[in-house]
């Protein structure tokens, strides 16, 4: 197949020494990105290293480690474990939707998407009443005799947070992973079935290995959403400790107008997602190159 190069400036422009014609076209988009993303990002990093008087110092980081070390670890634990849980559950459900073709699977295939369209703040408000000590869940369990309402399940903590995150993010992860699974030709699954492979063997030996990239994308996006989520931990945990970095950031700003420490917490959260983001970028660049090579 002939390779068509359209985005490269004609050699004449280069010889004249003028600005390649694509530069002016890029300016609006690049300027927008610089102004709206790069500038606040860099300025938050810079301010995190300035004290209240604007003098370079590490005081914000000292305060952050002093007061919020436990919250940082908590955030990391919440993010990693919930990402793992979300992805595993999403793989299982996506595989079920892919492999089974029953009325039930078609029904689930339609219903699961609902969660994607509900914002976190609404999910948080739902969870606040659903998971409360005398909320819907506990009252139902008490009426059916599973628990005693005087010692209900306490869910305004790590468990409740996990429930909320999964409720909201599993559908999102399914959407990505199921999309990947649909790209796999039926013949692979039929071949596996005809040689006696069960559901788990098909998932572990065919669907997952052939879909690493979509699973990776889902993992990174889910992880980043959990690290950056403010409303769910704020509304569910309230004043409880430990809490997440995002709640601490709001706290530093609301009560102390302390943008320095808030920014240092922000920088730490960048670091938390940086590893995942770097991996995501590397993978997408590799895919892009592979795509280009194939073309």
């Amino acid at each position: 197949m002939p390779v068509i190069r359209t985005a490269v400036a004609p050699p004449a422009a280069r010889r004249r020494g003028g600005i390649p014609p694509y530069i002016p076209l890029l300016i609006p988009a690049v300027a927008f990105m610089l102004l709206v993303y790069a500038f606040p990002f860099l300025s938050s990093i810079v301010t995190s290293f300035l004290d209240q008087q604007g003098v370079p110092s590490l005081s914000n980081y000292r305060r952050t480690v002093d007061l919020y070390a436990r919250d940082i670890i908590f955030t990391l634990l919440v993010s990693v474990s919930n990402t793992a849980g979300t992805i595993l559950l999403a793989i299982a459900l996506a595989a079920y939707l892919r492999v089974r073709n029953s009325r039930m699977s078609r029904f689930i295939g339609h219903v699961y998407k609902l969660g994607i369209f509900i914002p976190f703040v609404v999910v948080a408000q739902m969870m606040r009443t659903f998971l409360a000590p005398h909320g819907l869940l506990n009252v139902t369990l008490a009426r059916t005799g599973f628990i005693d309402i005087d010692s209900p399940l306490q869910l305004f903590n790590f468990s409740g947070l996990t429930f909320g995150f999964m409720w909201k993010l599993v559908p999102f992860a399914i959407l990505i992973i199921y999309g990947g699974f649909q790209m796999i030709d039926n013949s692979y699954l039929e071949a596996a079935r005809s040689t006696g492979a069960g559901f788990f063997a098909m998932v572990a030996r065919i669907l997952v290995p052939m879909n690493k990239s979509s699973i990776l994308v889902a993992t990174v996006l889910v992880y980043a959403q959990i690290v950056s989520c403010f409303t769910l931990p704020y509304m569910l945990l309230g004043g409880r400790t430990p809490t997440t970095i995002t709640v601490d950031i709001a706290h530093r700003v609301t009560y102390f107008r302390d943008y320095g420490s808030a920014n240092s917490l922000g920088v730490i959260s960048y670091a938390l997602v940086l590893v995942a983001a770097a991996y995501y970028l590397k993978t997408s660049v590799r895919q892009y190159r592979q795509g280009a090579d194939n073309a």
């Binding site: 007061l67 509304m235 309230g238 004043g239």
Partner: protein, 387 residues
């Protein structure tokens, strides 16, 4: 395409004439704008737009009240400060804002910058003001510069079904939580101001240094000595439920998960009115008290219409408006002395609002928040020693 052109043309027209009116270039018949800038929650905007504005315009047909809302919390007051600072620094003769509604912290900032005029003592309604908050705010001397519009107060809400005899003091409260573990709930310091108010009251009670913390000067040695105070609070916390915010405390109370907790009184009554809280719930204000805070009317030093602004403040602080709108409609405690509104609100409303916490209780047990530095220390010490 034609519709778009018409839309753009109308927009330009509106903007041009709006600008003329705002800039004072209006024709003589058009009413003068009285610019009222308010911090606070959206209910403050509703109050200005739907209640105070129309009432003032009815009495002063040559004025039109323009309500501008800057947002909740100290950040809302901060924006008003920035506007006034900008006008002062630009060296303008007449400033846009005629009257503003601000938090306590604003008073400390604005007094330092000399942005306000002294007017309150000249109002007819000043005679009804007895609150100490009208004289000082977070340690700043503000007498004359601010007129309290309403007072928000924290108190212990309790469920009389389970609590016959609410604790009359913090000592009794400590014993009560030990007898009823998990049944007292508050929201710590990251879930809203009712928890912060409770923590502040705890520090006042344990140190007995209310006067010092509210009038100054700030001494770091005081703060360093608080470790024991917070250790006691950490022990206390062993027996309590930490709730999910101001609303979280009220919800938990309503669902019967907790039997007692500190709440904002106005939220308590509003929730009851809206059917979100069991109307049998009661309030108590234990010794030595819990903090509350007013919101104030201020008039900028170079306000364009200072006379009308004074009339506006006088109207809102009159016993009639205080009774009907501030107390009855919005469930705040009045900015003026509660005894002056008696007879002006239906007796049952007066009895409900003052049933458990009387005007005398408020005068004696309503505490102020401490000086800004102590306030930060109260919150940060909690993080340091309890979290």
């Amino acid at each position: 395409m034609r519709k778009v052109t018409v839309c753009i043309f109308s927009l330009v027209l509106v903007l041009t004439f709006g600008g003329l009116v705002f800039g004072g270039g209006a024709r003589e018949e058009a009413p003068t704008n009285l610019v009222y800038m308010t911090a606070g929650d959206v209910n403050m905007l509703a109050l200005g737009q739907h209640v105070l504005g129309p009432q003032f315009e009815a009495d002063h047909p040559n004025y039109s009240v323009m309500t501008i809302h800057t947002g909740p919390g100290n950040a809302g007051s901060q924006r008003i400060l920035e506007k006034l600072l900008a006008e002062r620094d630009a060296g303008r003769e007449k400033w846009d804002v005629d009257v503003a509604m601000v938090h306590e912290i604003f008073m400390t900032w604005a007094m330092e910058e000399d942005l306000l005029q002294s007017y309150a003592t000249e109002l007819d309604t000043w005679q009804y003001v007895t609150s100490p908050f009208a004289k000082s705010a977070l340690g700043a001397d503000i007498e004359g510069y601010a007129m309290p519009m309403f007072h928000s107060q924290t108190a212990l809400a309790y469920n009389p079904e389970y609590v016959d005899d609410p604790p009359a003091s913090f000592e009794e409260l400590v014993l009560w939580v030990q007898d009823n573990p998990g049944k007292f709930g508050y929201n710590g310091i990251k879930g809203g101001m009712s928890g912060v108010a409770f923590t502040t009251a705890w520090v006042y009670w344990q140190t007995g240094a209310y006067e010092k913390y509210t009038s100054g000067p700030f001494e770091q040695s005081e703060v360093d000595a608080w470790e024991a105070v917070y250790e006691e609070l950490a022990d206390f916390n062993e027996y309590v439920t930490i709730t999910a915010g101001n609303v979280g405390t009220l919800d938990a109370l309503n669902r019967g998960e907790i039997w007692m907790g500190p709440v904002w009184v106005d939220m308590f009554f509003t929730f009851m009115d809206e059917g979100k809280l069991d109307p049998n719930m009661r309030l108590a204000l234990p010794e030595p008290g819990l903090p509350g805070q007013p919101m104030y009317f201020v008039i900028p030093r170079q306000a364009r219409n200072p006379e009308a602004a004074r009339d506006f403040v006088e109207m809102v602080t009159s016993p009639t408006v205080q009774a009907k709108d501030i107390v009855q409609r919005f469930n705040w405690y009045p900015g003026i002395d509660g005894s002056y509104i008696e007879g002006k609100v239906p007796q049952e409303v007066f009895d409900t609002i003052y049933r458990d916490v009387s005007p005398a209780d408020l005068a004696r047990k309503s505490q102020a928040f401490p000086l800004a530095d102590y306030f930060s220390a109260v919150v940060e010490s909690y993080e340091r020693w309890i979290d």
